[in-house]
Amino acid sequence: MHGLINRAIQSFVCATYGRQCWLRATRAAGLDFDEFEAMLIYEADISARLLDVLCADLKRPKSEFLEDLGTYLVSHPNMEDLRRLLRFGGVTYVEFLHSLDDLSDRVRLAVSDLKLPDLELQEFSPAEYRLHCFAGLPGYSSVMTGVLRAMADDYGALVILSNDGGKGEAEVISIRLIESAFAEGRHFDLGARKS
C-alpha cells in the first residue's frame, strides 16, 4: 500500500482522535514504528490491520470511518493542497464529477506509483448521477462518498449521496444534485501560491 494512503489515515486519526489514539493503534496492530513515510511503499496487510484495530478501538463501522476520512481529506486545513488539486477538476460541481473519470490518471501523472481504482461517472439526468468505483482498494467507495460530500460543500452545491454498495464488479455511489449553487462555496484561486 502506498505510503500516501497510510499517511492519510495517520493524519486523519491524529487530527480527529488525537496522537494517543494513533499510537495505541500502531501498537495494537503490531507495527514497530508509528510514522508512515508518504513516499515509501508498505505491505498491504499493514493498512488492513490498522483499519481493523482503529474501527474496533473507536467502535465505529469501517464504512463510516472511511467516509469521515474522505471528508477530512478535502475539508481539513491540513489537506488544503489536496483540495486544490481536486478543484482543478472543474469550475462547477458537475464538471468536477465528470473529471473523476480521469482521477486515477491524474494521480498517476503526479505520483507514478500511486495506483487508485478507476472511477466512471454515469449521467442519468442533469441532476442524477452514479459513480462506479472499480475494485482494487477495499473501502475506496466509502472514502469517495466522503470526498464527494465535502467537495459539494466546497463548491456550494446541495447533494444527496448514497453508497449503494457492490453491483457487479464495481461499488456504486448515487448522487442527486438538488441545487448546484446552494451556498457560496469556498474560494478557489488558480494562481494561489504558498509564500
Binding site: 513515510e37 508518504a38 513516499m39 469550475v91 503526479a110 488558480l190 494561489a192 501560491r193
Partner: protein, 332 residues
C-alpha cells in the same frame, strides 16, 4: 469570405488571446483574456509594437515586415510592467489587409495567473494551461513529501555515523574515527602530534573490584583526558585501556611534554569507586608527523607505540618521545 467582425467573434471563442492587426501594424481587435491583462488600456486602435516588445526575431523592427514571414515563432513581452512574456504566432489574413497574432503565456503562465487573477474561464477549453497548473502543484506536493523523507533520512544517517565513530562506554571517539582522522590529516599534509596512552594497573582494578569499577575508571580517565586537551584535539579509545590523542598543528616538544605531564599527574590522583580506592597511572609515548618524510598512519602509530613501551620500561607514569629513542628516524 468571413468579415472582420465575425472573425473576431470566432477568435474570441477559439483563442481568447488573439490580436487582429491591420497591414500598418495597428491593432483592430484583441481577445478578452488578453484585454483582461491591461483592463485600463484598451488595446484596439494602438500600435502593436507600442504595447508589445518584440524580443525575437530581433531583426524585425516594424510589423509589416513580419507579415511577409508567416508561421514565424515570436517571443514578445509587454512594454510596461509587469512585463509578462508571451509566445506568439502570426498568420496573415488570406485576403490581405492584416494578420492574426495568437499569443500564449508559455512558461510565464505561473506568474500570469497570479498577477492577473486568471480563472479557468479565461482559457479556451482546449488550452492545457489548467492541466499545467495542476501538474505543477501536484508535483510540488509530491516533491515536498520526498524532500521531507530525504531530510529525515539524512538526520538518521548523521546519527548513525556519529554512533559508528563513538566509543559507547566513554563517549570518546573510537578506533574507526581515529583511523579516519589520521587518514584525513595525512592527505591534507597537516602536521600533528600523536600520543599513545596506556593506563597502568587498570587490569588489577578490574580483577580486584570487578567490571563496574573498571568501567568507572575508564569513564573518569576519559573525562580527565578531555579536560586536559583542547576542543580541536581528538581523544580516542582504541583498545581496552589504550587511548590515542591527536593534537592537530602542534609540534612543540615542550608544550607536548607539559600536556603529557599534566595528563599523567591527573590520572594518578586516587579515584574512589563505592568506597574502594582504585589507583591507576598512565604511560605515554609521543610521535610527531613531522619526523617522517612521508608520514603514514601505520608508521606514526608504530613510532608512538615504541615510545610508549620505552616509557613503560623506564618505570611507568612517565612519557617518552619517539625522537629520543635510539632508533628514531629509522622506521622499520
Amino acid at each position: 469570405m468571413i468579415g472582420a467582425k465575425d472573425l473576431g467573434a470566432l477568435l474570441d471563442t477559439l483563442c481568447p488571446m488573439f490580436v487582429l492587426v491591420d497591414d500598418t501594424g495597428r491593432i483592430s481587435q484583441v481577445g478578452p483574456t488578453l484585454q483582461k491583462l491591461r483592463p485600463r488600456t484598451p488595446m484596439a486602435g494602438q500600435n502593436f509594437l507600442d504595447i508589445f516588445e518584440l524580443l525575437r526575431p530581433r531583426s524585425i523592427t516594424a510589423l509589416p515586415a513580419l507579415l511577409s514571414t508567416p508561421g514565424t515563432k515570436l517571443h514578445l513581452r509587454f512594454q510596461d510592467a509587469p512585463q509578462t512574456a508571451f509566445k506568439g504566432l502570426i498568420a496573415p489574413l488570406p485576403c490581405g489587409g492584416g494578420a492574426v497574432v495568437n499569443l500564449s503565456f508559455g512558461i510565464s503562465i505561473l506568474d500570469a495567473v497570479r498577477d492577473y487573477a486568471l480563472t479557468s474561464a479565461d482559457f479556451s477549453g482546449t488550452d492545457l494551461a489548467v492541466e499545467l497548473l495542476y501538474l505543477v502543484e501536484a508535483k510540488s506536493a509530491a516533491m515536498a513529501a520526498s524532500r521531507s523523507l530525504n531530510l529525515r533520512l539524512q538526520g538518521a544517517k548523521l546519527a548513525a555515523e556519529e554512533q559508528a565513530y563513538t566509543d559507547t562506554l566513554t563517549g570518546l571517539k573510537n578506533r574507526r574515527a581515529m583511523d579516519h582522522l589520521l587518514g584525513h590529516l595525512i592527505s591534507m599534509k597537516s602536521s600533528f602530534a600523536l600520543m599513545h596512552l596506556d593506563l597502568d594497573f587498570f587490569k588489577s582494578v578490574n580483577d580486584r573490584l570487578g567490571h563496574a569499577a573498571g568501567d568507572y575508571v575508564l569513564q573518569q580517565a576519559a573525562k580527565i583526558m578531555l579536560e586536559e586537551t583542547r576542543n580541536d584535539d581528538t581523544v580516542a579509545r582504541v583498545g581496552g585501556d589504550e587511548f590515542v590523542l591527536i593534537f592537530k598543528g602542534m609540534t612543540d616538544l615542550e608544550k607536548l611534554s607539559g600536556i603529557a605531564g599534566r595528563l599523567i599527574a591527573h590520572l594518578c590522583e586516587p579515584m574512589q569507586f563505592e568506597g574502594s580506592a582504585c589507583g591507576i597511572s598512565a604511560s605515554i609515548g609521543i610521535a610527531l608527523s613531522t619526523q617522517f618524510d612521508e608520514p603514514k598512519a601505520m608508521d606514526i602509530l608504530h613510532a608512538a607505540d615504541l615510545a610508549l613501551y620505552a616509557a613503560k620500561r623506564n618505570g611507568r607514569a612517565r612519557h617518552r618521545f619517539y625522537s629520543e629513542l635510539s632508533d628514531a628516524g629509522h622506521t622499520d
